[in-house]
């Protein structure tokens, strides 16, 4: 299994997809964070919920919590894991080497979770560099504390698990475009509709509920509960993905 996971990480390293996603997410976070500080009191373009002037630890935390945007990127990245192999027909050689398809999907889930966590670390680091750099250059105090430390530690967990969740979607929906649309549609449309119409239910859904709880954005759902709940969704989805992958004829 270790070999399989290593091979999945090697596949990620040998195409441009991962780096392109990472560059896009990092660029977006750097841009939004920088614009937030540059615009100062102009609230029209600031980060949602973030204070314009960083005075407290909570203010800084709201700027540094990039888990939402980064997790969306890793979710879509994960969704391409199985689907892109079908698209390019590399799935044939993958299954020729490893006919146990469940092991292939499981290795992808673990590999992409690791890659997704690294993704979160890089994107988070970019946000920290911009925010702390700005505060230091403008001679403002840096209100660092445990909640900031928690965000820094938990963002990679959120992005890693989102990537694994994406692999599950891609295994269940082997068409690449279909998998990507399903992933984005679920987070941006389905869960948002629930959040607006049935907020009591939304707090238990994978992203608006469990995912948000991981970085402490759900006061009534603990961080560990959030991780546990997200893992439960992930395992259920991956089980469906493995069944679909096992039963489907290739090419």
């Amino acid at each position: 299994m270790i070999r399989l996971i290593g091979a999945e990480l090697f596949k990620l390293r040998t195409t441009r997809m991962y780096l392109a996603f990472l560059a896009a997410a990092t660029g977006l976070v750097v841009l939004v964070t920088a614009v937030h500080f540059l615009l100062g009191d102009d609230a029209s373009l600031t980060i949602e919920g973030a204070a314009n002037v960083i005075e407290t630890e909570a203010d800084l935390r709201s700027v540094l919590d990039v888990s939402g945007v980064a997790a969306l990127f890793t979710l879509v990245l994960g969704a391409t894991a199985v689907a892109s192999e079908h698209r390019h027909r590399t799935i044939v050689s993958t299954f020729l080497v490893t006919p146990a398809r469940g092991r292939v999907v499981a290795a992808k889930v673990v590999g992409y979770t690791v890659a997704g966590a690294v993704f979160g670390i890089v994107v988070e680091a970019a946000a920290v560099v911009v925010a702390v750099g700005w505060l230091a250059v403008t001679s403002n105090p840096i209100p660092f504390g445990t909640t900031i430390a928690a965000v820094l530690a938990l963002t990679p967990i959120a992005t890693g698990l989102a990537a694994g969740f994406g692999v599950g979607i891609g295994a269940a929906v082997p068409n690449q475009l279909g998998a990507v649309l399903a992933a984005i549609g679920w987070v941006m449309i389905v869960e948002q509709l629930f959040a607006g119409l049935v907020p009591q239910l939304a707090q238990w859904l994978p992203f608006t509920g469990a995912g948000a709880a991981i970085t402490g954005l759900r006061p009534n759902v603990g961080i560990l509960t959030g991780i546990g709940l997200f893992l439960a969704y992930l395992v259920a989805l991956v089980a469906v993905g493995i069944q679909v992958t096992r039963r489907r004829d290739v090419a």
Binding site: K11, T15, L96, V97, P99, R247
Partner: protein, 324 residues
């Protein structure tokens, strides 16, 4: 090109799985009453044949005959509707680290366009725990060493075929399943492939099942042929036997063709009239035709025996009328 190919002996990779006596005695490939349906379409229809170990066999049929579907079921990429498809005495999916025992190059296989040839092979090598040196060895063997670090997206179809062949050989397998490997190769490449596969089978004792829709492409290198059409077995056997099975015909040109045709038909021969003075006759010896003409004072301008060419045999076997 041929200088580069030869026995692949530098890196020997032995199967890690134990081989039981039963497996050793089993055919390299066994297809038993194999059927694959897609809705109302029957892609493979109660197909049965076996390939014994150490032979090189041609798997022939026109496009759409069911060759690729059969290969896909042999390596577990598609599930049979019914019947069995086994390699080396067992289902492909039950082989431990299968590419060390069975190498497959399938038409349906693909490459990530942005990944280099070397990295494509390295992905497979790392998964199967094959030494990375083997990758460079094979890239040299198929003459892709100069292009090894280029993205496969820029490769010609011939280069992709050679990369596919390298991938199938990665584990130094005892059985090779090659689906239309000559597609995209130039004549020089096809000659290279022929020599290479012959060498694998006859010098190294490997078994090769190679498919093609062009009989001439494989006829010179195979020990036997399996011919299928519309998913069904047409015939299996050595090339010479298959051609002989089709029988020989006698071509006649005579101003008395009508009279001669009557006489031959009465003798039990099958007569096909091409035009006013030309006949094609089967089911009778050339000597008998000559004697009959002489006895009846019939003039002959031409009398000759003709065998069907390999390609004519293949076409005759796979044309709709030949389907049982």
């Amino acid at each position: 090109m041929p200088q580069r190919f030869g026995p692949v002996e530098e890196t020997r990779i032995r199967p890690s799985a134990t081989t039981s006596t039963a497996q050793f005695e089993s055919p390299a490939v066994h297809i038993g009453h194999l059927t694959k349906r897609y809705g109302a379409t029957v892609a493979v229809d109660d197909l049965s044949f076996s390939i014994r170990r150490g032979t090189i066999a041609g798997f022939l049929g026109p496009n759409g005959a069911g060759k690729t579907t059969t290969f896909r079921m042999l390596v577990g990429l598609a599930a049979p509707t019914s019947g069995a498809a086994q390699v080396l005495g067992q289902a492909y999916g039950t082989l431990r680290n299968p590419i060390l025992r069975v190498g497959a190059m399938l038409e349906v296989s693909g490459y990530h366009p942005a990944r280099s040839a070397r990295n494509h092979l390295l992905v497979l090598a790392r998964t199967a725990d094959i030494p990375e040196g083997r990758v460079d060895e094979l890239l040299g063997l198929v003459e892709l060493d100069q292009a090894a670090d280029r993205a496969v997206g820029g490769f010609s179809s011939g280069m992709r075929q050679r990369l596919g062949l390298a991938a199938s050989l990665l584990g130094d397998p005892e059985l090779l399943l090659l689906d239309e490997p000559a597609n995209g190769l130039d004549p020089k490449g096809i000659r290279w492939l022929r020599q290479f596969l012959r060498n694998l089978a006859h010098e190294q004792g490997k078994t090769v099942l190679v498919s093609s829709h062009v009989l001439a492409e494989v006829a010179q290198m195979v020990d036997e042929v399996v011919i299928i059409n519309r998913g069904r077995l047409i015939t299996q056997g050595p090339v010479d036997t298959v051609v002989a099975h089709m029988g020989r015909t006698v071509a006649i040109r005579s101003p008395d063709a009508t009279r001669l045709a009557d006489l031959l038909t009465r003798q039990g021969a099958t007569v096909t009239r091409h035009d006013a003075d030309r006949l094609l006759v089967s089911g009778v010896d050339i000597e008998e035709v000559g004697r009959l003409a002489a006895v009846n004072n019939l003039v002959l301008y031409e009398l000759r025996e003709q065998g069907l060419s390999l390609e004519e045999t293949f076409l005759a076997l796979t044309e709709p009328a030949a389907t049982p």
